[in-house]
């Protein structure tokens, strides 16, 4: 491979990762506040459909994105409402919504299938794009890619460097204690579920207006929501690590496309499902890395120890267990 190829490859990785990064960050925020929004896979499709249809009808890409974000926020609000105010299982409601929003997307978007619609245009940043190598990868992209990059840093800063972020984390760790400190856990969880949902909605719009332009059944974004949910675990509920997971995933996807060219004898179906066994394997390694016997063994292996330290992330203590006022 020549150097130009590598630049194109990495630019493709960064562009393709944008929606996954957004969805992963959104879910990280939501889960950090203690709510699991399992409906990601369907929400992404529904918001992708909404974005495409609105952008197609109004010729305004901005409206498409706004509408998609609202859709994502509404679905997340439903999950949070059922859990916080109706005491229903987040997993159950999230799963029902996964299926329902997907079907809703296919149903409502049916007459917009396979149409040529508007797309996000590239927006190279002057001067910065001329930086050798990095310039082409990071600064010769569209606005969404820049947005996803900024959001990674912003999420980290908000969660770990602001008083508001401290509140957010405290609600996910120990809602009872934060209640005693005068924080309303229910309101916080509702707020951050919706914030997370907005980002997931934008992720959907990024698919239908940029990464996989257009609408259809299937759209091509199917399965990504589940990947994002796993990436949150992979990232140990830390926005930067989770985003790194998203780039790693996008890298593997791009490599997969190259591999198909190099290894024509391997059927295409193998590459299509390859992320999923990998996903199980990742979770398995993550889980084993927490086991005491493995940790003891790693004491003697310095390199393994640092790998394990990287893999270990702490799950928000009250994740999935909503606050009950007595």
């Amino acid at each position: 491979m020549t150097e130009i190829d590598i630049t194109i490859l990495f630019a493709g990785v960064v562009a393709g990762a944008a929606p996954i990064v957004l969805a992963t960050l959104g879910e990280t925020i939501t889960e950090k506040a203690g709510i699991i929004n399992l409906s990601l896979d369907g929400t992404i499709l529904l918001s992708a459909m909404a974005a495409f249809v609105v952008a197609f009808e109004t010729k305004s890409i901005l409206l498409g994105f706004a509408f998609a974000a609202v859709v994502g926020g509404i679905v997340a609000a439903i999950v949070a409402f059922f859990s916080i105010y109706l005491n229903q299982s987040q997993v159950a409601v999230g799963f029902v919504l996964t299926l329902m929003t997907r079907d809703l997307a296919y149903f409502l978007g049916n007459s917009y299938s396979r149409l040529q619609g508007p797309q996000v245009l590239p927006l190279p940043i002057p001067f910065l794009k001329d930086i050798p190598f990095l310039g082409q990868i990071l600064f010769n992209q569209n606005l969404l890619v820049y947005f996803s990059l900024v959001m990674i840093v912003f999420c980290w800063w908000y969660m770990y460097r602001t008083p508001l972020g401290l509140k957010l984390r405290s609600v996910g760790e120990n809602p009872r204690a934060s209640y005693a400190r005068g924080i309303n856990p229910k309101k916080q969880q509702m707020l951050y579920s919706i914030c997370g949902g907005l980002l997931v909605g934008l992720a959907g719009a990024t698919f239908s207006l940029s990464v996989k332009p257009g609408w259809g059944r299937p759209q091509g974004a199917e399965g990504v929501g589940w990947i994002a949910l796993v990436l949150v675990i992979f990232g140990g509920w830390h926005p930067i690590k989770a985003a790194m997971g998203a780039y790693l995933f996008s890298f593997l996807q791009v490599i997969g496309i190259y591999c198909q060219g190099w290894l024509p004898t391997v059927p295409a179906q193998v590459f299509q499902v390859a992320p999923f066994p990998l996903m199980i394997f990742t979770l398995l390694v993550m889980s084993l890395a927490q086991k005491e016997s493995v940790l003891n063994w790693a004491e003697d292996h310095i390199r393994m120890k640092s790998i394990l330290a990287f893999l270990s992330g702490s799950v928000p203590t009250s994740l999935g267990k909503p606050f009950r006022q007595e």
């Binding site: 109706l86 299926l99 079907d103 049916n110 007459s111 999923f276 199980i280 979770l283 398995l284």
Partner: protein
């Protein structure tokens, strides 16, 4: 009487909410709502043949749902049921592809069902072991295995089992007629599948109600730690529950292959596994309500096939109705619980 009236009121309220929501969805998409409802009704219960199609959907749906009763009882989210149907179908097809099958059809159809059960159970055990030994959440393990199952089917159809000539999404070559399940002419429906589904239902009702297994599953599902201290083995019972769920799902996949499509298709599982999860939730995990809900869902699925032909709508409307029905039921149900709390009864 008072309880009955309350149930009646809640049921009506739920249906009204769902009806309103669906009507709005139809209006938004610019379709005539009542024409859509009419076609769904006529398309599912309008004739004996349609009823036969409904029962044909009811069979795998009920089998999957019945299996999920075991896993839900022990508090496992067996999302992998979809993949378990697929693997059941793959194993069944593998047996029927043996050359000797044509000469002894009855024996091989029986064997193929056993293989289907094994296939589904294998996939379920895999998810179960990942959960108990590997600490991988069963939702992600099962879901990952669903995608892998789909990949296996596609690979087989386009690879080793492709049709002579050209491989396509329409599946493998049709089996010879000897290897089709016999079917009733008026309904175009195989009674064998119906008998199997009903037996699974009765077996499950008995097992869960009267045996040690049923009690253990329930005890562990309710309070895992207490059950463990009591001497029950949570891990082993989880695997047992998964074997039941996977076995029934695999049988469903086998019936789809032998009795319905007579070949292996990419869409052999038709999302019945995912749908079965909704069925069981809507039935509130009750053995006897499960087949009724499954019947209603089957009607919606079969009826909505008319929508693309008659009104140029997507058939996924059935999924919208089913999903909103479950959500509305959960909302109304939790409102009742809340009413109880404020009524003075102590909270649980």
């Amino acid at each position: 009487m008072k309880i009955f009236l309350r149930h009646l009121f809640e049921g009506t309220l739920t249906l009204l909410v769902v009806f309103l929501f669906t009507t709005i969805v139809l209006l938004v998409s610019g379709a005539p709502p009542f024409a859509a409802y009419y076609h769904i009704f006529i398309g599912s219960l309008g004739s004996w043949i349609k009823l036969g199609q409904v029962i044909q959907v009811w069979i795998p749906l009920t089998l999957c749902a019945v299996g999920l009763l075991y896993t839900f009882r022990i508090d496992l989210w067996n999302i992998g049921v979809e993949g378990q149907v697929m693997l059941g179908a793959v194993f069944t097809t593998a047996v029927l592809r043996i050359d000797a099958a044509k000469s002894m059809p009855m024996l091989f159809i029986g064997l193929s069902f056993v293989a289907g059960i094994l296939g589904g159970a294998t996939w379920a055990i895999l998810a179960g072991v990942l959960k108990t030994k590997g600490g991988v959440n069963e939702i992600f393990a099962g879901l990952g295995l669903n995608f892998v199952g789909q990949g296996v089917i596609l690979w087989l159809i386009f690879g080793p089992w492709r049709r002579p000539g050209i491989a396509s999404m329409s599946g493998t070559e049709l089996f010879p007629h000897e290897l089709w399940l016999p079917f009733l002419p008026t309904f175009r429906l195989s009674p064998v599948g119906l008998v199997l589904a009903l037996s699974a239902l009765i077996l499950t009702a008995l097992l869960l109600r009267y045996t040690h297994i049923g009690l253990s599953l329930k005890a562990i599902g309710n309070n895992r730690d207490a059950a463990y201290l009591f001497g029950l083995k949570p891990d082993r019972n989880m695997i047992i529950a998964m074997i039941f769920a996977g076995g029934f799902a695999g049988l469903a996949g086998g019936i789809q292959v032998v009795g319905v499509y007579h070949r292996l298709l990419p869409a052999i599982s038709s999302n019945y596994g995912y749908l079965a999860l909704l069925v069981v939730m809507l039935a509130n995990y009750n053995v006897w309500i499960t087949p009724l809900v499954a019947f209603f869902f089957a009607c919606l699925n079969v009826g909505s096939i008319q929508l693309p032909m008659m009104l140029e709508l997507d058939s996924s409307l059935s999924g919208v109705i089913q999903g909103s029905l479950v959500l509305a039921t959960l909302a109304v149900y939790s409102y009742r619980i809340r009413g109880k709390v404020s009524g003075g009864t102590p909270a649980i």
